[in-house]
């Protein structure tokens, strides 16, 4: 059962959305703005319905690319963080390059990627470069956030590295990983 509070949370944003559309439509009509400057929402809707076969195809491609980039970044970031956590050598060797990759503007790399890779792959790699770092750094933070005494307890009971990872570090890092996954999802 929805409480009145829930209903309000649902209805209010919809009301704001409808009001925004009405205002937009009213302004376009009142000032007689040309469609190539600013189309009215009604015209947008009409075009959307008329050209749906072409537009839906493009929408599908965009969504798929987004999803692939997101999955690659999430999986890649978590796996890299796990590897870094298991081996200090690996972390010291590669982490600086992860930072360098992060601060290099993707605009500078994109043309090269387009030359070396197929277009579809290049787009996903671009998405990955932008998005994997927040996942990597947040997951690392989460893996290191383990309660010191709990870690001591695992040591006391002779836990293996794998057991410590599966039963202690990963569950402790999960909130950080999920928070990190929300970041690149919005970066598209």
């Amino acid at each position: 059962m929805k409480s009145p509070q829930d209903l309000v949370r649902f209805v209010l944003p919809l009301a704001v959305f409808a009001a925004g559309l009405l205002l937009w439509e009213a302004i376009v009509r009142a000032y007689g703005i040309q469609p190539y400057v600013l189309p009215s929402p009604l015209l947008v809707l009409k075009t959307l319905v008329a050209d749906w076969p072409i537009l839906s195809q493009s929408l599908g491609v965009t969504l798929l690319t987004t999803l692939e980039g997101f999955v690659a970044a999430a999986v890649g970031g978590v796996v890299l963080a796990l590897l870094f956590n298991q081996s200090k050598w690996l972390e010291y060797s590669l982490f600086p390059y992860a930072v360098v990759l992060q601060v290099t503007p993707v605009i500078a790399i994109a043309p090269l990627l387009l030359i070396y890779l197929q277009q579809q792959t290049a787009v996903i790699v671009c998405a990955w470069i932008v998005a994997f770092f927040p996942v990597l750094s947040n997951t690392t933070l989460g893996l290191n956030s383990v309660d010191r005494n709990l870690a001591g307890l695992f040591q006391l009971y002779g836990a293996s590295k794998l057991q410590t990872l599966l039963f202690l570090k990963l569950p402790a890092a999960l909130p950080y990983i999920l928070a990190a996954c929300a970041l690149p999802a919005g970066c598209r």
């Binding site: 309660d147 005494n149 709990l150 001591g152 307890l153 695992f154 006391l156 009971y157 002779g158 202690l168």
Partner: protein, 267 residues
């Protein structure tokens, strides 16, 4: 009541520290050198000001840290393997996994040792029963009070049936009534299970109430300043807590503890 042997020089020595010292990398001398013998089945308290290294001593005994000098010897009756599951450890905080319920938190030591499931379930039920939490096996830590969380922590330490129970100021954060109840429950567990208990505390009253022997430590680096045998007979209860005998022991121990605080600013 079974009265465990009090003499530390018996063959039944459970923990033996010889010249144990701990110096941190920063050069701070935290502990020792410390010589300590704890007899099997004995209840010993380490009493001292905060920062005197008593927790460090406990971590060294547990093998969670390595001494800078000296030796730590543990002798277990039964199997001689240096399997560290012969030790139960209770920290100052309950140190429970927030994502696991009470049963799975208590299961942890058994799971890490790959104990068979049926055997583990029976042990978990027994351990929860011992601490009076049989009805809360499915609850999550956030649903429990501070005292109950500490009971879960105690059950987890007991579930492997360890020979030695190490407790690091376990009840320091609890209110007085809860602490008294847990003190009584711990004493009856100790009487029934015949564990060796090393109990770290900064409370004179708690140490005298619980222990057969109170070891007063000096300020950093912690050494043994004085040692008291609390000869009052078991079982101890609320009458003991209000007895003249108890008060006399507390006065004596407090007097020995005072120099440890003398050097501290503002103490």
């Amino acid at each position: 009541m079974a009265e465990p042997a009090l003499s530390g020089s018996d063959a039944g020595s459970a923990v033996r520290l010889r010249g144990v010292a701990k110096t941190y990398d920063s050069g701070v001398a935290a502990l020792g050198p410390l010589d300590l013998d704890v007899a099997s089945g004995e209840f010993v308290s380490l009493l001292g000001p905060s920062g005197c290294g008593k927790s460090t001593a406990l971590r060294l005994i547990a093998g969670l840290a390595t001494p800078s000098a000296g030796t730590v010897e543990l002798s277990h009756h039964g199997t001689e393997q240096r399997g560290s599951h012969r030790i139960g450890f209770v920290f100052q905080e309950p140190t429970l996994m927030p994502w696991a319920n009470v049963r799975d938190n208590v299961r942890l030591p058994l799971k890490l040792a790959h104990a068979p499931a049926a055997d583990a379930d029976a042990r978990i039920a027994a351990a929860l029963d011992q601490v009076g939490l049989a009805d809360f096996a499915g609850a999550y830590p956030r649903e429990l009070s501070g005292g109950m969380k500490m009971r879960v922590s105690l059950a987890r330490a007991l579930v492997t049936d360890p020979d030695i129970l190490l407790m690091d100021e376990p009840f320091a954060a609890l209110d007085e009534i809860t602490r008294f109840r847990l003190n009584n429950d711990l004493l009856s567990l100790w009487r029934n299970l015949h564990k060796t208990v090393i109990f770290v505390t900064h409370s004179v009253f708690e140490s005298v109430y619980l222990s057969q022997r109170v070891i007063v430590m000096t300020a950093r680096p912690g050494r043994i300043g004085a040692e008291f045998r609390i000869t009052s007979p078991e079982p101890r209860g609320e009458e003991f807590r209000t007895s003249a005998e108890y008060a006399a022991f507390c006065r004596e121990v407090s007097g020995a503890l005072a120099p440890s605080y003398a050097g501290q600013a503002g103490a």
